[in-house]
């Protein structure tokens, strides 16, 4: 008996499969421009007793293969609680959205906040800025950490911030300093989102941006709590969906 969860995100698609002993195997692939096709390939020759879809593409997958859908909010609550039983607060910074979720002791969602239509302060924001500074996305965090002095970035809008970065480069500012300033700006924004749902110790940091060492350090310092970072932070939603498949 195998149960699976598929998290169709804006940048990556993650599949998590649980066996009888709750051992998990997973796959993470790029979403690309044909997410449905990618999902089909991912699911080919796999059989499950239950498959639950989550993520922005959940309804599309539901129509084709999945038994049911749950939202990312619920999926992250389930997944984060399973990986870190002490979890009471979740921060997910994904490709196109940021979520702050507070959960009760039993793992039920108490409150949540999400950015609305724009991708300010998300993974996509970092990607665009990395490109503007000629960094690989994997390296921008480490580079920012090495910066002697951050530059203040005023814009959170991806388009405005990119022109702000361009003018800073033109002024001769070191790119490390700009990178650190960008991370600080995201950290400020994320911090206030978390404060709106209330920060309780047991904060799980998930999503692709959780891999970024600079974000980890800045958030820890700003929030004054330890961060619980899953070994694979991009799988939390898919795991939550798989757990839900098993439960129902």
């Amino acid at each position: 008996m195998k149960f699976a969860g598929i998290d169709v995100g804006s940048r990556t698609i993650a599949l998590a499969v649980l066996d009888e002993n709750d051992d998990m195997e997973y796959v993470i692939v790029d979403t690309g421009h044909q997410p449905l096709k990618i999902c089909k390939e991912l699911l080919r020759e796999r059989e499950f007793s239950g498959l639950i879809a989550t993520g922005y593409g959940r309804h599309m997958v539901h129509a084709e293969f999945a038994d049911d859908v749950i939202t990312e909010i619920k999926a992250f609550a389930l997944g984060a609680k399973a990986l870190h039983p002490s979890c009471r607060t979740i921060l997910d910074i994904g490709g196109q959205d940021t979520k702050a979720i507070s959960i009760d002791a039993d793992g039920g969602v108490k409150d949540f906040e999400m950015n609305d239509r724009c991708a300010a302060g998300t993974g996509k924001f970092l990607e665009v800025m990395a490109k503007a500074l000629s960094y690989e996305i994997e390296d921008i965090g480490g580079a920012a950490l090495s910066a002697p002095k951050p530059v203040k970035i005023n814009s959170m809008c991806t388009v405005f911030a990119e022109s702000e970065v361009t003018s800073l480069i033109a002024r001769g500012e070191a790119r490390e300093n700009i990178a650190l300033g960008l991370h600080q700006a995201i950290c400020e924004r994320t911090g206030s989102m978390l404060k709106r749902v209330g920060i309780v110790e047991g904060l799980v940091f998930a999503g692709g941006v959780a891999k970024n060492v600079c974000m980890q350090k800045l958030l820890k310092r700003k929030l004054g709590v330890n961060l619980l970072i899953p070994k694979e932070p991009q799988i939390v939603g898919a795991l939550g969906a798989a757990l839900y498949a098993k439960k129902s």
Binding site: I70, T71, E72, I73, K74, D97, V109, F112, D116, R117
Partner: protein
């Protein structure tokens, strides 16, 4: 549908743009309204009204005008319909619920402005609203900053607007100002219609508008049943139609519907039994802005109440019917309208208390707070609403959006997660 092209042409409608608008409505209407299963049969009247939105009703307005009656267009629940009716006029709420003519409107208005105001300009400037083109008088009102400034521009650049001044504070001075405005509006209507407003006509008009409110109150009260016998979007549609339909016919049809709903309640028919009950609170939802109600109900919740100008604010409270003179009647009208708890007032504790009261009466599991983009009064007042609901243990989700569809996916995720949370 009958051929109304000649009528539209005579009103100066841009037929090509108008065709595009009319062709856009049926598929949306099919998906949102007609595809619902087990709808009350009496909804067929309201379906007909929407399908004939620019046809039959416009023809009725022309017939009314041919007999010498005036048509008054307004944008706000503060404009006293009783006075328009007593002067032999008809009052219609003007179109402001779709992204129409924004390119035209943005030539004279800032981009970052409430979509309702932009839409009102857009409909007029692109000449696609036959209601607008039928009006003998357009009445604006000094409610929010956006509107009161926009009427200046509409008057200068588009079409003259008669503006009613609304006090910001419900003090004795505020009440005096408002009563004075109501009296001035009576004089204006007498001037427009060439007819003096007499006590008998005004009494009849007060009774008629009260009857409309009573019918809508009856409908609203039936939704307190579990399950609600009617979907939220159908009820909202009726609340929207109330702004422009023929009053006696509308009242009769709402009551016919309510009779049917009472039968459904007996049989336990209606929304899904275990669906969480949700109230929408905040900005008006003007035809055809059904975006948020549709997302809420297709996410598995049952929408049971609209704390909105297209909802409770329109039909709560009646005008006292016992005024023996025009003066007393105007005072009764001023009293009733000043009870409206729009967020443009300060302080506005009535609204906060009313939201909590409605949430309890309708036994809602959660409130979705609806803010039109750039609507400062409702956006800022949210903080106090949130705190009051939190104190009562009622969950609330704030959604800020406009008439565009590009954020539907994100809104759906948040609404679905909210529904999961309160289920």
């Amino acid at each position: 549908m009958a051929d109304y092209c000649k009528m539209w042409e005579s009103l100066g409608i841009n037929l090509e743009a108008h065709d595009q608008l009319l062709n856009a409505i049926p598929p949306i209407y099919q998906q949102i309204f007609l595809d619902q299963i087990n709808r009350p049969q009496a909804m067929s009247y309201f379906d007909m009204v929407v399908m004939e939105i620019h046809g039959l009703r416009i023809q009725e307005l022309q017939e009314h005008k041919a007999k010498g009656g005036a048509v008054v267009g307004s944008f706000c629940v503060y404009v006293p319909e009783e006075i328009v009716l007593a002067a032999g006029g008809l009052n219609v709420g003007l179109c402001a619920g779709a992204e129409i003519g924004f390119d035209e409107a943005e030539k004279i208005l800032p981009r970052n402005l409430c979509p309702l105001i932009k839409s009102a300009f857009g409909f007029k400037m692109s000449r696609v609203c036959p209601y607008f083109e039928s009006c003998d008088l357009i009445v604006g009102e000094n409610t929010c900053d956006g509107k009161k400034k926009a009427w200046e521009i509409m008057t200068e650049d588009v079409v003259p607007v008669y503006t009613m001044d609304i006090p910001q504070v419900k003090s004795e001075k505020g009440k005096e100002l408002w009563l004075d405005e109501v009296k001035k509006f009576k004089e204006k209507m007498e001037e427009v219609s060439g007819k003096k407003i007499e006590v008998d006509e005004l009494a009849k008009a007060i009774k008629l508008v009260n009857d409309k409110r009573r019918a809508l109150q009856r409908l609203s009260n039936l939704r307190k049943n579990k399950p609600s016998p009617i979907s939220g979007r159908d009820a909202l549609l009726i609340e929207e139609i109330a702004f422009y339909d023929d009053n006696p016919r509308f009242i009769e049809k709402v009551n016919v519907l309510c009779d049917e709903l009472e039968e459904r309640i007996e049989k336990g028919e209606g929304s899904k039994k275990d669906a969480p009950r949700v109230m929408i609170s905040g900005c008006p939802m003007v035809i055809p802005n059904w975006k948020l109600p549709f997302i809420i109900e297709s996410s598995g919740a049952s929408l049971v109440c609209e704390e909105s100008c297209t909802g409770q604010r329109y039909f709560e409270d009646l005008v006292a019917e016992d005024g023996g003179s025009v003066g007393a009647q105007l005072e009764a009208i001023a009293d009733r309208y000043l009870k409206i708890d729009c967020s443009c007032f300060t302080p506005n504790q009535e609204r906060i208390d009313n939201i909590v009261k409605l949430a309890k009466e309708f036994e809602v599991d959660g409130v979705i707070y609806n803010v039109l983009q750039f609507c400062d009064p409702y956006a800022v007042e949210y903080r106090r609403v949130e705190k009051a609901l939190e104190k009562e243990g009622i969950s609330v989700l704030r959604i800020e959006t406009d008439y565009g569809q590009e954020d539907s996916g994100q809104i759906k995720t948040r609404v679905e997660a909210f529904v999961e949370m309160i289920s």
